[in-house]
């Protein structure tokens, strides 16, 4: 059937500069560029281009430019180009529109409407380059009080403390499974996490056996509805276990890794046959209710001899604060909430763009809820979904989170340009693919260095901002909404965020 969809990108090749090296042809897995031996020149098919900018960056002669095309349609605020073209694709295929990355629609980004405080006169600001500045954070359940026994100078702790994760900076890598991302990308995250004193999250694709000894200590291993690659060894080699209930990009939706992406190694790690679809059902079929979740939490605690904190990750949806409160009561040590703009390797676009609530509002209402119920101590909160810079991190913490997960930010550090074609398995940057030729493009040493640089830079910036507020330990900012003010927000939004308007 003839497609009525217009190309999204236009490729401009400077013929004067192009040396016919055919580099672009090799770089583009979508097959955009082909060499025509008759004319001895390269021809590009705009229709195939995903706009990932790989060929542009890697053209040795700087001869290529890839530009988004202008909408060819008459201006229409209701029937936007995207709406029309998605509709045409569906008319042509009868299928669900898939996409990757996080929600790209213009929902209000609250981070950009919140401003931070700084000390002036009454309280000195601190210079983080010379004064101590502490970002260390413990993630896990804390008792409400500590019982001690003292005999003279000898003080014994009587309360049995729950296992906690220690992070040196409140930034963790979000769940990205081996299978969704390449081995090199996965290993880069693990390497950088260990180096930076933080954790990476295996997602639901298992943890390759040969990585367990070296990286298990900085791994949060996930147990998701597909239960891939899970056995007692996997659970016990890690620092923590996370039950994935939901994901911000696709709350209430399962996933499935298409058979093409299930290569021999992916299959071995997931412990399924090569080439089969790895289907993650929408719910965990052993969790239909809150007490079932409790049962799984305790089954995992049993399986790890109560030595590891158990986290539960849910998508931020309408009633989530009440649900999260139940999750804490069900025994979770950490709650990870993933907001509306959380990323994904593949999700139906209609879900990604329409389900869930923004993370900023979610953090605030969850923290408030748990404090109101007097159970905030019993768990830590990790916020995820749309954290783009250190300021977002610090605002999240001031709103009540203990730490954040970053996903898209980490991918961008490795080279991703958010082309949203992750689900095709043809990622030219070697991140979201299992094609050995493409995956090999990502060098673990370089990618992990880019990641640890990012963590290092953000941590410095966080220290600077803290210092400016006269705070030298991150815990003094947690839930400290007094250091936040809103700009350009409605009353109800300020109320949900629990912050005053600027100047108030």
């Amino acid at each position: 059937m003839k497609s009525f969809v217009f190309p999204e990108f236009h490729i401009i090749r400077d013929e004067a500069k192009c040396g016919q090296c055919r580099g672009c042809e090799r770089q583009c897995a979508f097959g955009t560029h082909t060499y025509d031996p008759v004319q001895d020149r390269l021809i590009s098919d705009d229709y195939k281009c995903a706009g990932c900018q790989r060929c542009v960056v890697f053209c040795p002669k700087d001869a290529i430019e890839v530009r988004p095309t202008q909408s060819p349609y008459r201006q229409n605020a209701s029937w936007t180009r995207e709406k029309m073209e998605d509709l045409k694709k569906q008319a042509e295929t009868g299928g669900v529109i898939l996409t990757g990355c996080g929600n790209d629609k213009p929902f209000r980004i609250y981070w950009d409407h919140i401003v931070l405080n700084a000390s002036q006169v009454t309280n000195p600001s601190i210079d983080p380059l010379r004064e101590p500045m502490e970002l260390r954070t413990f993630l896990g359940a804390k008792p409400d009080f500590m019982e001690i026994k003292s005999e003279g100078d000898d003080v014994q702790i009587e309360t049995k403390l729950s296992p906690n994760l220690t992070v040196e900076t409140p930034i963790l890598f979000s769940a990205m499974s081996y299978g969704a991302i390449s081995y090199n990308a996965f290993r880069s995250l693990a390497t950088a996490a260990c180096k930076s004193g933080t954790f990476f999250n295996t997602g639901e694709g298992g943890l390759p056996k040969e990585m367990r000894e070296q990286f298990g200590k900085c791994a949060i291993v996930q147990v998701a509805s597909g239960r891939f690659g899970i056995d007692a060894e996997y659970l016990n080699c890690a620092a923590a276990v996370e039950i994935k209930v939901g994901q911000g990009a696709k709350p209430g939706i399962g996933g499935h890794l298409p058979g093409e992406k299930v290569s021999g190694e992916v299959a071995a790690t997931r412990m399924i046959p090569t080439g089969t679809d790895a289907i993650s059902p929408a719910p965990h079929h052993d969790i239909y209710s809150i007490e079932d979740l409790s049962m799984l939490i305790y089954a995992l605690k049993e399986a790890t001899n109560y030595e590891k904190p158990v986290s539960v990750k849910i998508a931020a949806v309408h009633n989530f604060a009440a649900i999260a409160s139940g999750i804490v009561r069900a025994g979770a040590d950490i709650i990870a909430i993933d907001g509306l703009r959380g990323g994904t390797g593949a999700a139906p676009k209609v879900i990604r763009d329409n389900v869930g609530i923004p993370i900023e509002l979610a953090i605030s209402s969850l923290d408030g809820r748990l404090r109101k119920e007097g159970i905030r101590n019993r768990c830590s909160i990790i916020a995820a979904g749309g954290i783009r810079c250190s300021a977002d991190v610090i605002k999240a913490i001031a709103l009540g989170a203990d730490a954040v997960y970053i996903g898209s930010a980490a991918l961008i550090a490795m080279g991703c340009n958010l082309c949203q074609k992750c689900y095709t398995g043809k990622c030219n940057w070697g991140i979201c693919t299992q094609d050995p030729r493409l995956a090999g493009r990502l060098n673990v040493d370089i990618a992990s260095l880019r990641l640890s640089n990012l963590i290092c830079a953000w941590s410095h910036e966080i220290s600077e901002m803290l210092g400016g507020m006269g705070i030298n330990a991150l815990e003094s900012l947690r839930g400290n909404r007094d250091h936040l003010r809103g700009v350009g927000l409605y009353e109800w939004e300020l109320e949900v965020l629990g912050i005053k308007g600027a100047g108030e």
């Binding site: 289907i279 052993d286 049962m295 049993e302 399986a303």
Partner: protein, 271 residues
Amino acid sequence: MARAHFADPHTKKTAQGEQRVNTAEIDATNMETKELNGRLRDLMLSGVQKIALRNVCGQRYIGTRLYNPERRKVEIEIFGTPGNDLAAFLFGHKIVVHGNAQDGVGNTMDDGEVIIEGRAGDVLGFSMRGGKIFVRESVGYRCALHMKEYEDKRPVLVIGGTSQDFLGEYMAGGIVILLGLGGKSHEGNFIGNGMHGGVIYLRGRVEKEQVGSQVEISPLDGADREIVDHYVSEFIERFPELGLNKEEILRDEFLRLSPRSKRPYGKLYAY
């Protein structure tokens, strides 16, 4: 509080007179789940190989905390009714239940054997990847859900009676055998919904409408017969009290349910 006591682990001579097996007993009356499993773990680590649990009543996750890198194995006998998630994540141990079991038996089980001398509840063998479960009578909803297999790991579930709805939903591997003993007809619906691996053998009949659209119903071939033959023998061995006759069982019609495709949802998306 828990009035638990456990007999000193003592050694018992086996028939051969040579091998010594360390055995122990726990009275689980009023004992909390966590304590019971803690004791089991301690006994295993102290070298006990056979443990009898008396008066079990609803304690969960029995067998779950017995992961050990040295791969020690124990055999547990349960008297009473174990609670949910029996043998979850089981790591190669053997568990015999002298009675019924509840929901979630063998959840994500890795290896080992569970024998239930009675019926079992819902979601039995969920995401199980290895080992065997034998249930003398029938099972509840959603058994063998998303059961998997990998290389030499092929989980086996043999059920003497039948199952309620959603047997083998999302099934991705392994073998399920329903024997329909005692004239039990298979009335469950939605069998094998979303099935994309593994195989279900059923003694007796099912209607096409009872099985998922991805599932193909076919007669057994030689290889299938061998498998069924083998596990029927194992089933009979484990429940001698039933006085079953293998030939009689095998003489009846069996059906094979298997997925039409490894990719049930391949055509759903527009790229």
